[in-house]
């Protein structure tokens, strides 16, 4: 080997086979690194396989080669030391290489944050495979939101804890979708400062959340008490006596008058336990409302005394409740887990006393617990008197005070978990300002707001499990009256995101009604054909016809009479059959028009004359249909929609169900212009909600669209297609038929995917519409 060829050889070899040596060189050359490298190396190298060491070192070199900086290298060594036993050196090499890749995409700060998060990630996930998937998700994030990587990596514990890897990935993609191009919004989301991010985290947890159990709890409490308190989700970050967990999550129920504020989730419990816990908590809180008596004045009581009086009051209420419903004991008992062991701390003793007062078989020799039990037993004859709670609580408070036990009201959490935070018992003459505000907010939220253009709302609608999501009222701003918010299906995350889209009622621009009349007048032949078809379709309740010439059944009465007539020698009546027909028309139709930008496209090959757009075809088709249905008396509503992001889905009311098809409706119809995008799911949910109130036998939503679902904040149109498909199915389950009529010039639309192959028809020429309508009506009549 000649000296002249050596450098070239060295380059070839070092990358693959002498990474360890190169690493030593690198670390040795810089004093700042040396001091950190030496101890780490000794730890890692002892007893390690040389080949593994090479693989690991080459990963570290990759990191060094992207100029990650000493901070990253030191972090890489540290996690190597910590995670070596768990992952092995080869996998750690891959991890460091992934950090190098991240550094390339999002900078060294992001890479370092990722490396620092590794111990947490390793503790939550299984093995190197999931760890590397986690890194890949960061790479993906770095492509569109490099600024957020470091932030989200530093929050890894808060996200991975409830959500796991799948949840983590859903969380990232949700953040990207929600933030869109808004950098500040993304930072707020990934920094967990955004309300939507926190709500999403709560839902991602594998536990059962309040929305899953809400209806069941309501029914359960109604069964118990006939007139139960209202249940609401506790607002985030509501201050209370230690009822708030890390991150501001309420951990206990809270009473506010006749409202029970429930935690959105109970963390760290299995779904089955969470269901029981929700039920136990609701039973406890409702017992307070049903059996308790007003609030106690706070006076000069100290926090410990407040907690003790609350505890005795809980025991008193539960004793009363169990006298009424003995089975509640079995519901509550599993949560009393305090044991008569360990150091005597104030919270520990309180939990033990709670158990002692609840569970007669529980043995506890602590003097305080024994005294508490004795005092409670002494007053057992006066369970109906709330003053006894106060008296016993005060007596016990003095005892505990003399033991000089630390009691921190800020960190105290009422045990067992199903009990309320105790604040609802007290009449704070000078309530903590924030809390008073919160209660007002909650009470305000319950107040029904009249919807624009709607009859005054009735009571709160029952939650329908099949409903296409519940409409939630939302505040209004300058972009039109907010009518409702609707959930949307997240295809990737496989969850329904509540209150994801905001529907706004926008007054439609007015056009020239004469234009619609001219459109109609231009096609007299079509008008007649469609009108005949619509009138001919027999929809409605079946009716029996007796004494028919023909039919599937014999009419017994007619038969007998015929036989009698024959015996009398008279000519018999031949009408001896029975038949069933659908006679009455009983149909409501809501027509939903897509007026997004894409409906401005021209329709190829549509006769001679000026260019015709999809919207023009729609305009003509709807005018024909509306005119044809007018004489049948079928209630028909016309709605148009367009969207500009999920918080701006615009709905134009062109015609109400009861409104005649006259000049005002025609003018609104004529004024519609193509623009914006197509968020079909939200519009469909709203049309479904409106139609659900119709009292007809058959209810139909006709969607006229170009079959291209899209919106500016949705990267993958398939998301909206899936969402629409889900709504169609939900509406179908509620007895509302959804038919998609796709006016599809290019034939690329996803009509079948959205509405189902049988519930969708493609119309490319207006001349096809009568035939298509015939199909539609006959299909309806058959069912």
């Amino acid at each position: 080997m000649s000296p002249a060829r050596r450098p070239r050889l060295e380059v070839l070899v070092t990358d693959r086979e002498q990474a360890v040596a190169r690493l030593h060189q690198l670390a040795g050359a810089r004093p700042a690194l040396r001091s950190a490298f030496q101890p780490a190396w000794q730890h890692i190298a002892s007893g390690a396989d040389p080949a593994d060491l090479e693989a690991w070192a080459s990963g570290i070199l990759d990191l060094a080669n992207v100029n990650a900086g000493p901070g990253c290298l030191v972090a890489a060594w540290q996690i190597s030391v910590t995670l070596q036993p768990r992952l092995g050196l080869v996998a750690l090499g891959d991890v460091v290489r992934a950090a190098a890749e991240l550094c390339r995409r999002a900078g060294s700060r992001a890479a370092q944050a990722g490396l620092n998060a590794c111990p947490t990630v390793a503790a939550r996930l299984h093995g190197a495979g999931e760890m590397l998937q986690w890194w890949r998700s960061l790479h993906h994030l770095a492509q569109t939101a490099p600024e957020s990587v470091a932030l989200v990596a530093s929050n890894v514990a808060a996200i991975l804890e409830p959500a796991g890897l799948g949840g983590w990935q859903s969380f990232l993609s949700a953040g990207l979708k929600l933030g869109g191009t808004d950098r500040a919004r993304r930072l707020a989301f990934f920094g967990l400062e955004d309300e939507a991010a926190r709500r999403m985290l709560a839902r991602l947890g594998e536990t059962v959340d309040f929305q899953h159990v809400e209806r069941g709890l309501k029914l359960f409490l109604t069964a118990l008490w006939a007139n139960p308190p209202a249940l609401r989700i506790a607002p985030h970050g509501m201050p209370g006596s230690g009822g708030v967990g890390p991150g501001g999550w309420p951990r206990r129920t809270s009473l506010a008058g006749r409202i029970v504020l429930m935690p959105e989730v109970y963390r760290g419990v299995s779904p089955e336990t969470a269901r029981l816990l929700f039920r136990a908590a609701a039973a406890h809180a409702s017992a307070h409302v049903a059996l308790g008596a007003g609030r106690f004045p706070v006076g000069q009581l100290k926090p410990l005394q407040l907690a003790l009086v609350g505890l005795i009051e809980d025991a008193r209420i539960e004793a009363l409740a169990m006298a009424r419903f003995p089975g509640l004991r079995r519901l509550w008992a599993p949560f009393h887990t305090a044991a008569a062991t360990g150091a005597a701390t104030a919270p520990g003793l309180l939990a033990r006393l709670a158990r002692a007062l609840f569970d007669p078989t529980y043995v506890d020799t602590d003097a305080f617990v024994v005294k508490g039990r004795a005092l409670f037993a002494e007053h057992a004859g006066r369970l109906d008197d709330p003053a006894m709670s106060r008296r016993v609580g005060n007596l016990l408070g003095n005892d505990l005070g003399q033991q000089r036990l630390q009691f921190n009201a800020r960190t105290y959490v009422v045990e067992p978990a199903y009990r309320d935070d105790g604040l609802g018992l007290w009449d704070f003459t000078d309530p903590p300002a924030e809390r008073a505000d919160q209660i007002e907010v909650v009470v305000d939220a319950m107040r029904p707001q009249p919807q624009a253009g709607e009859a005054p709302p009735r009571g709160e609608p029952e939650r329908d499990p099949l409903a296409g999501g519940r409409a939630r009222e939302a505040a209004s701003d300058g972009r039109g009256v907010v009518v409702a918010t609707y959930p949307e299906w997240d295809r990737a995350g496989n969850v329904e995101r509540p209150a994801w889209t905001t529907l706004r009622d926008v007054p439609p621009p007015l056009g020239d009604a004469a234009r619609i009349d001219a459109l109609l007048a231009a096609r007299p032949d079509l008008r007649q054909r469609i009108a005949r078809l619509v009138r001919g379709a027999r929809l409605g309740l079946p009716a029996r016809l007796r004494r028919q010439i023909d039919g599937p059944d014999l009419d017994l009465d007619a038969l007998l009479e015929a036989a009698i007539a024959m015996r009398r020698g008279e000519p018999p009546d031949e009408r001896i059959h029975r038949d069933t027909v659908r006679l009455a028309r009983d149909l409501s139709v809501s027509i939903l028009l897509d007026c997004s930008q894409s409906t401005g496209e021209r329709v190829a090959g549509y006769g001679a004359g000026p260019p015709v757009t999809v919207l023009d075809v729609q305009r003509q088709a709807v005018a024909l249909l509306a005119e044809a249905t007018a004489p049948t008396g079928d209630p028909l509503a016309l709605r148009a929609f367009a969207s500009c992001g999920r918080d701006d889905v615009r709905l134009f009311r062109l015609k109400e169900f009861s409104e005649p098809w006259g000049a005002p409706a025609k003018a609104r119809r004529a004024g519609l212009q193509p623009g914006l995008s197509t968020r079909l799911g939200a519009a469909l949910r709203h049309a479904g909600a409106e139609l659900a109130a119709a009292r007809t036998h058959r209810r139909l939503i006709l969607v006229l669209t170009d079959g291209e679902a899209s919106d500016i904040d949705v990267a993958d149109p398939l998301d909206l297609v899936e969402d629409t498909r889900r709504v169609s199915r939900q509406l179908k389950a509620r007895g509302i038929d959804v038919f998609g009529v796709t006016l599809d010039p290019c034939g690329t639309g996803a009509g079948a995917a959205m509405f189902g192959a049988g519930n969708c028809m493609k119309v490319t020429r207006l001349d096809d519409l009568p035939a298509r309508l015939a199909e539609l009506y006959f299909r309806l009549a058959r069912r």
Binding site: G216, K218, L219, A223, F325, P465, D557, L560, I564
Partner: protein
């Protein structure tokens, strides 16, 4: 005319809840038609049986259904070997023989059917049989009783105003808990504790009426549950089999009801 198969031999058990017995007796004295209103399974049919026994009249019961025609009530010609023979319907039988005719769930019948009873329920007290060309005057002992559950039928199915206004109405509801427990004990032959628990359970389900249930658990359901318990089934299982499962198919409702039942036990 032999109406003896329609006579009730032994006294049917009926526990009066209010003044229904005296009102019925007063109505019968003047042969006023009576309408029994109330939820299913609260004792309307049993009450009629009891009153028929008490008044010593035969009882002819017709369960109305939506295919029922006027001929099904009044009668029709049937074919026989040598021609046709008229066959009285149950209503005609009662009118001729002086029985109490009980039309159960009258709204189930179509409205054009129910008008048959109109001439019987006013001062005329007669039944026109147009096929026979006969105007049948009611037997002096004849009385018409109908039952009607306003709750569960839809608004479509309601009695005509002209039908409604011909009747004395007696409203039935579920009895007071103590009385209902007594009835359950007596009918199912169980002890008081069980009957009281079952009545409490029924109260839970009746709270849900209109909140997801069309009707709460009826007294009849409680008697069934008590009989299951008597046959050795556990109380919660018996309640599930005889109350929760029959009353609803809604999974959440079942779960809530089961939880509420567990709280009572």
């Amino acid at each position: 005319m032999n109406l003896s198969p329609f006579r009730i031999a032994a006294e049917p058990y009926y526990r009066p809840v209010g003044n229904e017995v005296s009102i019925f007796e007063a109505a019968y004295r003047d042969r006023l038609p009576v309408m029994l209103k109330g939820p299913t399974g609260c004792g309307k049919t049993r009450f009629v049986e009891h009153m028929a026994w008490k008044l010593g009249r035969p009882l002819i019961t017709v369960a109305a259904h939506e295919d029922m025609t006027a001929a099904d009530l009044a009668g029709r010609y049937l074919l026989s070997q040598d021609g046709t023979v008229w066959h009285d319907g149950p209503l005609t039988l009662a009118v001729r023989g002086g029985a109490i005719c009980y039309l159960d769930e009258i709204v189930e019948a179509r409205q054009d059917t129910t008008v048959v009873i109109h001439p019987l329920t006013d001062g005329r007290r007669m039944l026109p049989l147009e096929k026979r060309n006969e105007l049948l005057a009611a037997h002096p002992d004849f009385q018409l009783v109908i039952s009607y559950n306003p709750g569960y039928q839809s608004a479509v199915k309601d009695l005509k105003e002209s039908t409604k206004q011909r009747f004395i109405a007696i409203d039935f509801t579920y009895p007071e808990p103590e009385i209902e427990a007594e009835i359950v004990m007596r009918e199912a032959g169980t002890e008081a504790g069980l009957a009281e628990t079952l009545v409490d359970i029924a109260g839970r389900s009746r709270n849900l009426r209109g909140a997801g249930l069309n009707e709460g658990a009826s007294t009849r359901m409680l008697i069934h549950a008590a009989r299951l318990v008597g046959a050795g089934v556990g109380l919660e299982q018996a309640a599930r089999a005889s109350i929760v499962l029959p009353i609803t198919d809604d999974a959440e409702m079942r779960e809530a009801l089961t939880a509420a039942i567990a709280a009572c036990v």
